[in-house]
Structures are given as C-alpha cells and as structure tokens.
Amino acid sequence: MEKAILKMEGISKSFPGVKALDGAAIEVRAGEVHALMGENGAGKSTFMKILNGLLEPDEGSIEFDGKKVEIHSPSEALGLGIAMIYQELNPIKDMTIADNIFLGREYTRGNSVFVDKGKAEAEADKLLEEFGMPVRAKTHMRGLSIAQMQMIEIIKAVSSGARLIVMDEPTSSLTDEEITILFQTIHDLKRNNVAVIYISHRLEEIFQIADTVTVLRDGKYIDSKKAGELDRDSLINMMVGRRLDNIFPKKEVEIGGTVLEVKHITRKGVFEDISFHVRAGEIVGFYGLVGAGRSEVMRALFGLDRADCGEIWMDGRRIRIKKPQDAIANGIALVTEDRKDTGLVLCRSIRENIALPSLGDFCRAAFLDKEKENKKCDEIAGKLTVKMSGLSQEAGNLSGGNQQKVVLCKWMMKNPRLLILDEPTRGIDVGAKAEIHSLMGDFAKAGMAIIMISSELPEIIGMSDRIIVMGEGKIRGEFKIGEYSQDDILKCALGGKK
C-alpha cells in the first residue's frame, strides 16, 4: 500500500458563533481517489480551504509528503503540489488555452521579460493531445464547454506538478458523456500516482470512482472506510447520523382540477410546440438531458423569456405573460435552477430576500410595515425550518440547502397556484434534500400544482405523479406513475420512441 501523501489531523476552525471544524482529519494516499463526504455545512469546504491556504486553522497539523507544512496561500499550496478545482470555474475566457494553462508561469525567451508564445502553444498542444482533448492551444477559452474548461484546469494542475488535486463537485454541470471522460482522466491521474480528493453529493459517483471515503459531520471526523466496504445506506447513515428510510417521502395527495394548461408554445430555436397541463395537487416531473429545453420552457412560462406563439391558461382563463410580474400576479412562482444567479440577492438579509416579491403586501400607503413583514417572514422561515442565526443574516452566508429553503419561503409567501421548481435539490446535501422533498409533498397536499425539473432520475421517479420527457426542445413522451421503468424514461430522453 502506498504511504500517505497528505495527513491532516485535529483541524479546528471557529468563526464567530460557529465552530465550523472540530477535530477534522483526513489521510490521503498517493494514487488514490479519496471521497470527502458530508452534508452541506459539515465543514468540507472550510476543511479544503484550509488545505488550500485560504483559511488558517485554529488548531491541528498538516503533513504533506511526510513533512509538516503550514500553508498560507493558494500559491504556497500549489508550490507544494496541491491544486484545487472549484465547483465554479473561473478561467480567463478571453485568453487562449495555452495562456490559461501557463498562467503565472509563462515561458519566456531566455531570461527576458518577453513571453515565448510559440513554446507555450507547442507545450500546451502536447498536453492537450496527451489528455485526448480535440482542441488546439490557440483556441480561446470562451469557445469551450464547461467540461472542457474543467479538463483544462486539470491539465493545468497536472502540468504544474500537482500531486494532489482537490475536485469540488466536478460533475455538477457535466453531461453523462462528459462525466465518463472525466472519470477516465481521473483513472489516468491515479496511474500517474496523483491523489485526488473528490467532493460530490452524487452518491452513485462515489461508488464508481472512489477508493476511500472519509466522512465529516458537524465539523468532526466521523470515519474513513474503503469504498468497497460501504453501500448507499451505510454511507448516508454515516453522513447524517440517522437512517433515511425514505429519501422521497411521497405523500398521498388527492388530485384536483387543471390549474395550468399550456397549448402549443414555441420559442424559435429553443423549444417547439410544447403542450401539457398540470392539475392541483399534482407533481409533474420534467426529465431530459442537459440542453433539452426544459428550463427554457419554464422561463417562458414565468415571463423571463418570451414565447413566440402559443397559449397559456390558468384555472380555465387564458393569460398573457410578458414579464415575471404578470406570472406572479397570476399565481405562478419559479424557483430557478441557479440560486446564486437568479434566486437570491446574496448580499442582502434573509428577510429582504423572502419579502422581495411580497413587498406590496406589506405596504401601508407608500411605506413598509416592517413589523408585519418581520412577523410574516419569521413565520414562514419557521415553517420551512430555515437554519439561521436570525432573519437579518446575509443570505450568502447560508448553506446551499438553507439558501434553497429561503427561495422557497420567498415564493410560499405569495401562496402560488403553480410552483415551478428547476433542479430544486442540485448541490444540496442529503438531509436538506429530503426536507425539500417533504415540503413539496406538503405544498401538493395544500392543493398547489407543481412542476419539477430534475436531471436526477431517482428524484424524478420518486416524486412525480406524471413525468414529461423532453429532448431537443420537444416533448418526447409522457409517463404516468406505475406505467414505466427507469429504462423507459432514459431511453425516451435519449431519443427512442415511447
């Protein structure tokens, strides 16, 4: 067995009011894929920030390659051979691949200050070929897909001599095919004795790729195990400390009359001739591959984009939606797929975020009734069990699951007739996910019509009364509960006929 390349022990770190880490530990061997698991808020990111030198630990020691080290900055980490690939990539998009790979360590002509472009491009091309990338070093980053940008990050890390690469949710925006390529690359890294710390919420991936699993819970080290010794249930159990008998607690709900009816809406080049309906108390799942046009349909329903033609009916009345205000006024709410971009104003308080669409309801003449606002927000945040220090806490300081709950609070305040959820549990830990599923059940029970887009097949199957499958901007098929197998849906999404 390889010896440990990284040993972090007894790492503690406190922030005002919170002990983020309390004796966290990990031991990574060269050439292994080591999954770091834990719910959101378990301290994984703080832990990795300490490894990367972005944060200094209050206590604990780091040993890298058998030597005790102190890491004060990401560049020091890189100097040691520790590279990070973040969930949200930030390449310099207007520079070429070669420029990005050699950023900060450019080849120069002799000892001059002048950059040797030719050499950089030649070296970059060599690397790209090694990694089987079908692009040239001269290409601008802007033209690449997210998966390709990620690959460039990995190439950059490896070519700078990294011996430990931390990947934070690397597959969250990749298609299945891209994931396969990524995993192939990770296997190659292993063969070259590079260690990988792999963070992901997708349990299936962990069993596919990881050799060892370390679990953190509430900032504490829980256990490390060989991946082969674990199964889904036991891993979840380690993470949440309680057994989740049912991840998808679908509630029995009586289904009422039609709430939304969409007739033949089209947005040229995006989606075409989309017709469907949703009834009260019903959860309709939209499944499809990334780029199938599901989110775009919902954006049009909510007035964020315009449909070129077609009709939208709510409760038997034809409505016209030109902007989000129209949709909101007609009882439609949309929880968008990207919390940070379109869901929350991160720099403002939870209260302001929750109240934002409902401010009109809290106004007396032109003025805000802050007491009423506060009371209502408090009520709804309590109902949806948002974990927070208070309504004044900045939304940006919450964990992903709690942020999503704040978005839900915001729309529950409007008591919508139709709730559209676009990837409601993406990037959210297992516990919060179950809570959100349970809330969806409650909403449906209260008579709300719900549309849920999800790219996770188990979620779609577990939650939906009906599943609509989209592909290439068109509806490819519709499945009622109990009338399909997982394979049917996947085949339909991939292009087979129902």
């Binding site: 989000p324 403002r348 109240a355 401010l359 004044s392 915001k410």
Partner: protein, 334 residues
C-alpha cells in the same frame, strides 16, 4: 427613529460581541479619531462657530452624495451631477431675472430641469443598458452644454434676497445666540437625509434599489421591474442635484453655467468613504453623511492648522485610502 431606522438589525439579531460593534461603528470611530487629532492640534476646531461652519461647508456635497448613494447602491454611478447643478442654477437665476417675484416657480422649474436632464442618463442606463459610467459621461457633457447655451455662456446674478438667504441665511439670528446660528443649508441637508433614508429603508422602492444592485437577475425573477427602479433612481438623483444646484447658486448668488465642475468626484468620495460598495447592493445614508463629514473636517482642520493647500490635497488623498482600507478590513473582519 424612522429615518435612520434602517439598521435595526442589531436589536433583532440579539447581542453583538465587541468585534461586531467595532465593525458597525468603524466609520464613526475613524471620524471621531480625525476630529480628536484636530481638536488637540487646534484650539479653534471645537468652537461652536467652527463646527457649524463645517456642517455648512458639507451641506451641498452632502446632498449630492445622498443622491449618489442611491445610484451607487443600484450598482450604477452618475458623473453628470455637477453639470445638472449648473443647469438648475442658470435656469432659476434667469427666470428670476425676468420675473423677479416668482422665486418658487424659478426653483421648481430649475430643479425640474435637472431632473428632466437626468432622464437622458436614466433611459440610457435603465432601458438601453449602457454602462452607467458612459451614459452619465454623455449627460455630463450634454448638460454642461445646455447650461452654457441657456445662459449664453455668462453668469446670471441673483438679486432676490430670499434666494440668497437659502445659501447664506440662518434659521435664527446668530447674534442672538452668541454667534452660533443654524444655517438654512444644513437644514436642507437634514431634510434631504431624512427623505432619502425614509425612501431607502421604509419604502418598497428603497428595497428594490438594494435588490437591483445586489443581484439584478434575482430581482427581476422576483417580479421587480428593474428598468423602472433604475430609471426613477437616476431621476430622483437628478432632482437632488437640482436641490444642490439651488443651494450652490444661492450661496454664490449667481447662476453660473460653469459652476460645480468636478463636484461629482467629491460626492462619489463621500459615498465610498461612507462604506457603500461600488459593486452595488449595500450602503447606508448614515455612512454617506459621515463620509461627507470626514471630508469636511479634513478640509476645515487642515486649513486651521495652516497646512498649505498643496499639501492638503496630498493628505486628503491618503486619508481617503486609509479610511476605506480600515472600513474594508473591519467589514471583512472574520
């Protein structure tokens, strides 16, 4: 209470520890520190007349900075404020020249003219989505040209004493209270501060200003009419520039087409020192007032100490950087 009640957070979130206190009041501490230095170095600094003088000095910049605060919170900027002030001065002075008894009309039309002119920026930024820096640069040049055309390039003297009282008068006769009066300019500043604070903290529009600046996409997806919010923020700022233009014209008893050049930078400086983020989404009225006060006290104190005006500029520039650095450090804190 209502006016400056935007920061009730403390009361709601329970106790704060010392560091958080420091964070909330870093600006005040910086301000008091600067005052303390001058108070020790110069015996005149703390004299009531001098203190009133400082407030009077900052009144015009303060009003400008308050409007600018709203604009910067939306994530924008307005470089045209000085030119807008000149329009108000010129228009109001010229109306009075021809109609000596129509002070109210002159002021309303003058301020209205600035607000109207600011719609150019408002449309470009809100509707056409041009960067605020560029849009307001365009307005800055156009408005200056308009002021020059309207005034025919020459200053127009204000003979109306009621008008000049706005700039030079006191609420009561200073002689009666041993030389300490309450300048009308300061009263206007206070009124404008209260109005902007109420708008920002106690109205829907104010919340939308923060939301649009904090995350335009999320605001839009929450049903906020982003175009409308931006548009009216710039127009409101234009009207406040008009008020500041009136104050300046009253003070120099003249409507001058070349007045107030470079004022935009002082206003922006006060806002930034006051802790408002240039990225938008955060900022406070109280911060801007303190920011304006810090600049005012620096100007005043350095003159009292007899520092050459050349050095004054250098010192001011350094202190601006230091104040913002300290504020950033305490904000980031942990």
């Amino acid at each position: 209470m209502m006016a400056f009640g935007g920061n009730k957070e403390g009361a709601l979130s329970g106790q704060k520890n010392f560091k958080q206190y420091l964070r909330s009041y870093a600006l005040v501490i910086i301000f008091l520190g600067v005052c303390a230095v001058f108070a020790i170095a110069s015996p005149t600094f703390l004299q009531p007349t001098n203190i009133v003088g400082v407030f009077r000095q900052i009144a015009i910049n303060g009003v400008l900075a308050l409007g600018m605060t709203l604009v910067i919170i939306t994530g924008g900027i307005d470089l045209s404020v000085g030119s807008l002030m000149a329009i108000t001065g010129v228009v109001s002075a010229m109306i009075l020249e021809n109609n000596p008894n129509m002070l109210a009309v002159a002021l309303i039309v003058g301020i209205g003219a600035a607000a109207l002119m600011s719609m150019w920026t408002a449309v470009l930024v809100a509707k056409m989505r041009i960067a605020a820096f560029i849009a307001s640069l365009s307005t800055m040049t156009i408005a200056r040209g308009v002021a020059l055309v309207v005034a025919d390039g020459i200053p127009h003297t204000i003979k109306d004493t009621a008008y000049s009282e706005i700039g030079n008068g006191y609420l009561w006769d200073p002689a009666a209270t041993g030389g300490v009066g309450f300048p009308v300019l300061v009263l206007i500043l206070i009124v404008v501060a209260v109005i902007t604070a109420v708008i920002l903290y106690n109205t829907k529009f104010g919340r939308y200003i923060y939301a649009v600046g904090g995350n335009e996409n999320a605001a839009e997806a929450s049903g906020v009419n982003v175009v409308k919010v931006k548009f009216w923020t710039y127009v409101l700022n234009g009207a406040l520039c008009g008020v500041a233009g009136m104050m300046l014209a009253a003070r120099i008893t003249s409507g001058q087409p070349n007045a107030a050049t470079g004022y935009e930078l002082d206003a922006i400086t006060a806002v930034i020192i006051g802790g408002t983020s240039m990225a938008g989404g955060s900022g406070k009225i109280s911060g801007t007032i303190i920011g304006a006060l810090i600049i005012g006290v620096l100007n005043n104190g350095l003159v009292l100490l007899g520092v050459s005006s050349y050095y004054q500029q250098i010192i001011k520039g350094i202190i601006i950087a230091v104040a913002v650095l300290l504020d950033m450090k305490t904000k980031k804190g942990n």
